[in-house]
Symmetry: C2
Subunit: 211 residues, 2 copies
DNA sequence: CACGAGTTTTACCGATCGGTAGGAAAATGC
DNA sequence: GCATTTTCCTACCGATCGGTAAAACTCGTG
């Protein structure tokens, strides 16, 4: 672990010869992530990336490889950020609590200044040039994975008697995944956190019960 | 109205001097709409547009103006296509029927080959270069308008005793708009029409009633 | 102070971008 | 057959794109 020196950010570990690196790789990657998330792959130029990261084009290239590779690393970083919270939500004691916690992860409910509202795996995947089709389908695959995790959680709840066996877990998982996404998109379109929180409460009030 | 000649598509109206136009404006605009809808503004190049419309760059420019203007006309054409169906859905006799009809307009429930699944006003608006921010917010405004129309329909149902007055029409409208969008995005991510239709039935089974 | 190592910067690259001027083509009218 | 009109095409434009080679810079070491 590094400790910052007073004025130059030079790490205190013994220094190898050579010019010291002038950036933090993780901070730069996070800055690039925010740009790709907001603007998409095609809507992001190297001018945007250099402005956001403080790194020149050759330095970005030397550190992260080409633009596609940088985008892929940004997606991995995004998944690392969000999957911990998502798995925490899924691990709540009951299915109902797990689902509500997942819905409440939607950024429209608690907007974070400076960050886009709609999930990067959604808005980064929906449109793009023909060249980026394969890249964008990688994002879609990660979303499908998240829906599958939710489905598996609901199946476990059924085995544990925490959710009626009459419920189709796959359909319910698709329903809640749809809703989570839709709430974010509506938030991006101006829906208020108050309204979105009321929707979550309304939906949770209708939790499937035995009958 | 034009009748096609046998081999050249020449209209039968009296002809002015000059080279006959070699395209149909509405057909070309529809082709451009499909490209912008699938790829977004930044992901679409003039190479894509000329391939899709069969028109060269100078001809596109002479007919539709610059790329931004063509995109705007594509959005207008899209709205013309979809708003009739949407208003038909909203004009069903009961609020419940109206809402169900709106949800069933989501393309994921009945996919159309060759067309994107997610609403153009959603996926065309979510990401893009900084230059296109204003353009994309025009799409968002049209979506907000659609949600407002749904809210107004629900308010009317309350006045007519067709929906309990205890229900918050704005929240319910946001809920169904969220769900419609989310269903399309899940469909674009691989969710089956069967699952999505089951979600609509499940949701409609929980229609708010007096209590 | 010179050298070596690692990093950054400058200048440049070919390709593609959106857009346009002027010539060519295709029609009608005399 | 030629002039006029309207439309289309070719070739070109400046700007920006993603990417790179080589020089310059910044450090530590002897």
């Amino acid at each position: 672990m590094m400790m910052e020196a007073a004025t130059t950010g030079v790490p205190e570990v013994p220094r190898k010869p050579g010019r010291p690196r002038g950036f933090d790789r993780d901070i730069a990657l996070h800055a690039a992530l925010l740009v790709f998330w907001k603007h998409g792959f095609d809507g992001t130029s190297y001018a945007d990336l250099t402005a956001a990261t403080g790194m020149s084009k050759p330095t970005l290239y030397a550190t992260f490889g080409d633009k596609v590779n940088l985008f892929r690393e940004a997606v991995v970083a995004y998944s690392a950020l969000t999957s911990q919270a998502y798995e925490n939500a899924l691990s709540r004691p009951t299915a109902r609590e797990a689902v509500e916690a997942c819905l409440r992860l939607a950024r429209g409910l608690n907007p974070e200044p400076g960050e886009p509202i709609v999930c990067f795996l959604v808005q980064g995947a929906l449109t793009g040039s023909a060249d980026t089709q394969e890249l964008r389908s990688e994002l879609t695959a990660l979303r499908q994975q998240a829906t599958e995790q939710l489905r598996a959680r609901l199946k476990r709840a059924q085995r544990e008697g925490d959710l009626p066996k009459t419920v189709d877990a796959a359909v319910l998982a698709e329903y809640f995944a749809s809703l989570a996404t839709g709430l974010s998109v509506q938030a991006a379109g101006g829906a208020t956190p108050a309204h979105l929180n009321q929707i979550v409460e309304m939906v949770m009030a209708q939790w499937p019960s035995e009958r």
